[in-house]
């Protein structure tokens, strides 16, 4: 495990930054588009780095870093059309960025001020899901709804992309999602970032064969793409979403990548993996790779890179100051939105809570 047969993997850009050809997937972008992807990668990494720093300084309770997975997320995020819907795990900050979610909104959950504060409909980007695999069924159901709405097979086609990790493939819910998606030919793409670990557990605790092969047994295609290659990820995901919108049903994409950092800021990966493995993956860094390409093929000049850097600095500063300025949730919001149509019981509990809290304000020492 961990090593793959060459040829299995869709790659369009080598780790050295050279374009390669693939018989099934082609992508030709303008310089602008290449540069935009580069900018995305840098921004996404910077947001992540800033959040990690904020956690270290006690401003976030925890943070799930995407370091190393930027290309997979930006490739997938940019493959989506406006009308497509994404169902993320807790790590898809990069996809959220592509969907126009203010990075500050993504911090709320980790800071502990809310449980997800953006409007999923505004961005077509659902709230984070922490229970492993559960979102794959939601995505499938949503996609079934798209089909029922007649939004497949025509010009107004819509598709769904469900994100999941390599560990998640072991959950019953994920396999049930494959079944529902297949049986109902739902327009959904299962985008699995195989970052080689589920917390401490290496991939061989979840499977004995490459993950992308799982899909065939459920009756739909599985593709393994180099998840550190933003071009290949973009091309493969675009094709899968196009197929879904066209009414071809689901595709499973295994984006082969690596979690460069800890599982979350609470984790200590030195307990379960060796430094040399991390070093080896550094050579496949998704940003360095695209940068080499941009430079070699003169898609970008030093000014461009400097500009991106300073843009990233600004974004980081925005994230930092915005995080520190996030208002604390008002105590009584504890009781808000338990039910859409309210409940006398919750109202009563809120009232007694308010009275109780007021009893302190009254200066009463209990």
């Amino acid at each position: 495990m961990g090593e793959m047969a060459d040829g299995e993997l869709v790659q369009l850009l080598t780790p050295e930054g050279e374009l390669t050809e693939h018989p099934e997937y082609a992508l030709s972008l303008t310089s602008d588009e290449y540069r935009d992807l580069y900018r995305d990668l840098v921004m996404v990494r910077r947001i992540d780095a800033e959040a990690t720093a904020l956690q270290r300084q006690g401003e976030l309770g925890i943070w799930a870093s995407l370091l190393g997975q930027e290309a997979a997320q930006v490739g997938a995020g940019r493959a989506m059309r406006q009308q497509d819907m994404a169902f993320p795990t807790y790590r898809e900050h990069g996809v959220g960025y592509c969907r126009g979610v203010d990075p500050l909104r993504a911090l709320g959950l980790f800071r502990g001020v809310d449980l997800g504060a953006w409007d999923p409909r505004e961005h077509n980007f659902h709230l984070y899901t922490i229970v492993i695999g559960a979102q794959c069924l939601h995505a499938t159901g949503y996609a079934m709804g798209i089909a029922r709405d007649g939004k497949v097979g025509g010009d107004d086609g819509e598709a769904v992309i469900a994100f999941l990790g390599d560990g998640a493939t072991s959950q019953g819910d994920v396999n049930e999602a494959f079944i529902f998606a297949s049986v109902f030919a739902a327009p959904v793409v299962f985008f699995c970032q195989n970052n080689q670990y589920a917390i401490s557990e290496p991939l061989e605790r979840q499977t004995r064969i490459p993950l992308y092969k799982r899909a065939a047994g459920f009756g739909f295609p599985g593709v393994r793409v180099d998840g550190n290659d933003v071009l290949a990820t973009l091309a493969v995901t675009r094709k899968a979403l196009d197929d879904a919108r066209a009414g071809q049903g689901p595709t499973f994409i295994e984006a082969y990548t690596y979690r460069m950092g800890a599982h979350t800021t609470s984790d200590d990966p030195t307990r379960y993996r060796i430094a040399s493995e991390v070093e080896a993956w550094k050579l496949k860094d998704p940003i360095a790779r695209l940068k080499s390409f941009l430079i070699r093929h003169e898609h970008a000049d030093p000014e461009f890179f400097a500009g991106v850097e300073s843009e990233a600095d600004e974004l980081a500063a925005y994230v930092r100051s915005g995080c520190l300025a996030m208002p604390e949730p008002a105590h009584s919001t504890l009781f808000d939105h338990v039910y859409a149509e309210g409940s006398a019981e919750i109202d009563a509990q809120r009232a007694s809570f308010t009275r109780y809290q007021a009893s302190f304000a009254d200066g009463g020492v209990r």
Binding site: T129, R148, V338
Partner: protein, 325 residues
């Protein structure tokens, strides 16, 4: 409308809801061609098509999880769980996803999903077909839980549940499916609210609270006691949130309360009702609230279920014990 069985009344209610709102979907195992193992969805697929009455793969978590996704897309799915004992594979989707979504999204996502569960025993079935899992859901914040007890309520409550923007676990007393009663077609605003308990027999000596299949049992007990003791019977109807105002009021007059359910006594609905009523009516009660419930054993083989399940005699025995206090 005529006299009809509970199963037919539910069927009529589902049909009406599907006619009124094209976003209402029915999904579950065998709900289509077969019309459900209890025929509650009989004829619906024929009339509304396979896109609206969906025979799903055999996977309860899948049913609930995709229903959540469909609800996010604007649909109003009604999930049928074939029998009470088969809801547990869907537990995570219900408790961690369905129940919490409105809260965590600060009201931005509404999940108007109804989960229909035929529940309770008394039909001589094999294991896992006679469970009463309502407390597992009533303890879960974010869910609303109701139980109907008769055809008239079945007809209206299912429609109200479908119209509600909250997720609702809808319990149907399977052993009452074939019992008939008058069902009135009433204009909406005359309907008794979904989340209200209802006094179904007036009395003065002792209050008896029941829901689902045990309402009939409680009424039979009241009839049997008639002349000797006057029992007031309250049909709980809403299991979460509870509506205990009618109970408090009743207990303030009768000074005694017996709660009846099939589910095991330990941490059953009866415990919560006992705790609350005691807190509210502490000086009214002349005896502790007594509970008549299933024993704290797994559901027994069918030939022992008569011993396991509360019946008229056990209700009257509890009333006696209340008076003996």
């Amino acid at each position: 409308m005529p006299t009809m069985t509970l199963a037919k009344a539910l069927n009529a209610g589902l049909r009406k809801a599907m006619e009124e709102d094209p976003k209402v979907l029915m999904m579950g195992e065998d709900v289509g061609k077969l019309g459900g193992v209890f025929r509650v969805t009989d004829g619906l697929q024929k009339d509304f098509g396979e896109d609206r009455v969906i025979d799903t793969p055999l996977a309860e978590s899948g049913i609930l999880g995709t229903a959540i996704g469909l609800a996010m897309r604007g649909y109003r799915p009604i999930c049928e769980i074939q029998f009470d004992g088969f809801v547990y594979p869907a537990y995570d989707q219900i408790v961690s996803q369905l129940a919490k979504m409105h809260y965590r999204s600060q009201g931005k996502i509404r999940l108007p999903v109804v989960v229909r569960i035929p529940f309770g025993g008394g039909i001589g079935a094999v294991e896992h077909h006679s469970e009463s899992p309502e407390a597992y859901f009533a303890h879960t914040a974010g869910l609303k839980v109701v139980a109907c007890s008769n055809p008239a309520d079945g007809y209206t409550m299912i429609q109200q549940a479908i119209r509600s923007d909250d997720p609702i676990i809808f319990f149907e007393p399977k052993r009452r499916y074939w019992e008939k009663a008058e069902v009135a077609e009433a204009p909406d605003d005359d309907w008794y609210p979904l989340h209200r308990s209802r006094t179904v027999a007036a009395g003065t000596d002792c209050t008896v609270v029941a829901y689902g299949p045990m309402v009939k049992t409680a009424l039979e007990a009241a009839a049997a006691a008639h002349g000797e003791r006057s029992l007031e019977v309250i049909d709980l109807r809403t299991l979460s949130p509870l509506d205990l105002d009618p109970v408090y009021e009743s207990v303030s007059r009768t000074h005694r309360l017996v709660v009846v359910h099939e589910a095991p006594g330990n941490l059953g609905l009866g415990s919560e009702i006992a705790a609350r009523v005691t807190e509210r009516c502490f000086y009214d009660l002349e005896a502790p609230v007594l509970r008549v419930a299933g024993y704290d054993t797994p559901y027994p083989p069918a030939r022992l279920e008569e011993e396991y399940l509360p019946d008229l005699d056990r209700v009257l025995d509890a009333v006696d014990r209340s008076f003996a206090f």
